[in-house]
Each structure stands twice: as structure tokens, then as C-alpha cells.
Symmetry: C2
């Protein structure tokens, strides 16, 4: 299944977290799995907090990007449109809350699962859970808002 | 002035955000400036959200690490000890909240300024503000807790 990021216009595909054109970045891909959005990422060995565990800032970054991706996925679905149809949905983060429930082990693929908590006007709130080896290690809430028109126009 | 991270034991200096031994990481340095803690970082050109602006995940990462650094600084101060004196203080993040107030311009040095909101037992809460060109662009709250003894012992 194609990810929502695969449909972002080229000008909006530079994001360090999820831009397909950012060769230095994480290039995460968010897609539906039933009613939840999913993304995966395997941290690099240098994404370390203390030996054996993943750096919390990376976890925050993944939650952030999967949250804005989830917001876009949910907005297309709410309008009964496929990702890639026009006009494009592209979100920025208004606020990000991350709760670190336990240390996240380094060396395994992480799975992010998102649920839409609220979709209202230009705002989408999602809850993102991070799993390592099937256990939840962090939980986040992302308040995403559609990119301001002026910003979007200046970029496209 | 030396930063608190310069006094972390070698085993605790691998953090991607602030470890002096992580050659891939941000290596931020947190020190006092009066009653506030400060750190600086200039995002790389690829730390981009959309053209011209800094990736929010990086901002979250910087806030996270400066928050745990601020917690360590505050704990030494509360005990009337210099960073580097024993035993070492080393914190992990329990929760992180970031509010993105306006887009953060790419291409300038960012300054992070931290204030201790609460220091109680093994927990320190700090408020971290991010400035670009003298304007505040993001504000974070970091709840940091001292690394569990078992984890610390397993690492040292």
C-alpha cells in the first residue's frame, strides 16, 4: 500500500522526518492498517540515548511525523478522497506531547500506530503509540493543523 | 564556561542529542547563564520541514536534551555541588511537551533557554524556550527523572 507521503507534492517532500526527497532523513511512510495508521522505522546504531536504548528525541521525531501523516490520511478519508487527489493535505505540528513509558531497546524495528482522536476544521489530533518487540514503550499526542494557505502557496 | 555534558561519565556520553562522544549527534552543551540554562545549536541544511523552516522533530530533540541537561545542572546546584562532583546526576525524560508557536527559520543559530519549574526528589520539571533571531518560536516542558539506579549501575 502506498503511503500518504508518496503523494506529497515535490516541494513538500523535503521533511527530515518523512520527506521522500531528503536523503539524510528518516523517510518514514504512513499508511492505513484498518482504522489505525502505521509506520515503521529501525533506528540507526548512533540513535542512542545510553547504550542499548533509543534516543528519546528520535522517538519524538517519529511520533511528530507520523502524527502529521496520520492527520493527512484522516483528512483524505473524511472527504472520501484518495491520497494524491487534489487539493493536497499537508499539516504542520501545533503541539506534541510524548510520554516515555519505558526505555526503548535499540536494534529492533519500531512500529508506530496512530489513532485519530479528533478531526475538526483544519485541526486533527492523533494518538501515536510506539512499539518495540510488541511492547508499547512510548505514547504521543500530536495536534496537527493544516499548513497556513499563505505558507502553502509560497512553497508550491 | 564548561557545560554539564562535559562532566558526564564516558559511558553516559553517547546520547545522540548531547553526548560528546557521538560523532553523528548534535552534541549540545547546557550551561548556566544567570538563573537560566542555555544551549545553542545551528540546524543543518537538511534539518528541514518545508523549505526555509526547521524540522519540528529536531526542535523537540533539542528541547528534550536541554531539559535533561537543565535537570542535571539544577540538581548539582540544589546540592551546592559543581557538575563533575560525585555522584553524577544523569536524567532521562519522562514526558516532553512541545508547543510550536511559529515556524522556526532555517539558517540561523537557535538558542535554547531553560527555567527550572520544579525540583522535587528525583524529578525535575523545566520549561525550555527556543529562540531564532531573538524571537521565541517554540516552547517546551520537560519532565526529567533521575535515571533508575539499576540502569545507571548496569552502564557504569
Amino acid at each position: 500500500m502506498k503511503a500518504v507521503q508518496d503523494f506529497y507534492p515535490e516541494e513538500l517532500s523535503h521533511c527530515y522526518g518523512c520527506g521522500s526527497l531528503n536523503e539524510h532523513g528518516h523517510q518514514i511512510k504512513s499508511s492505513w492498517d484498518g482504522d489505525e495508521s502505521v509506520a515503521e522505522y529501525t533506528p540507526k546504531p548512533y540513535h542512542i540515548a545510553v547504550p542499548g536504548y533509543v534516543y528519546g528525541g528520535l522517538i519524538a521525531s517519529l511520533i511528530d511525523c507520523h502524527g502529521t501523516g496520520t492527520a493527512a490520511l484522516a483528512s483524505y478519508k473524511a472527504e472520501g478522497r484518495e491520497p494524491g487527489s487534489l487539493p493536497p493535505f499537508r499539516f504542520v505540528t501545533a503541539s506534541l506531547l510524548v510520554q516515555y513509558l519505558k526505555p526503548t531497546p535499540l536494534g529492533v524495528k519500531l512500529q508506530l500506530r496512530g489513532k485519530v482522536v479528533e478531526l475538526k476544521g483544519r485541526k486533527v489530533i492523533s494518538e501515536i503509540s510506539v512499539y518495540a518487540d510488541g511492547e508499547i514503550t512510548a505514547r504521543g499526542e500530536v495536534v496537527a493543523v493544516q499548513m497556513p494557505e499563505a505558507m502553502l502557496k509560497s512553497l508550491l
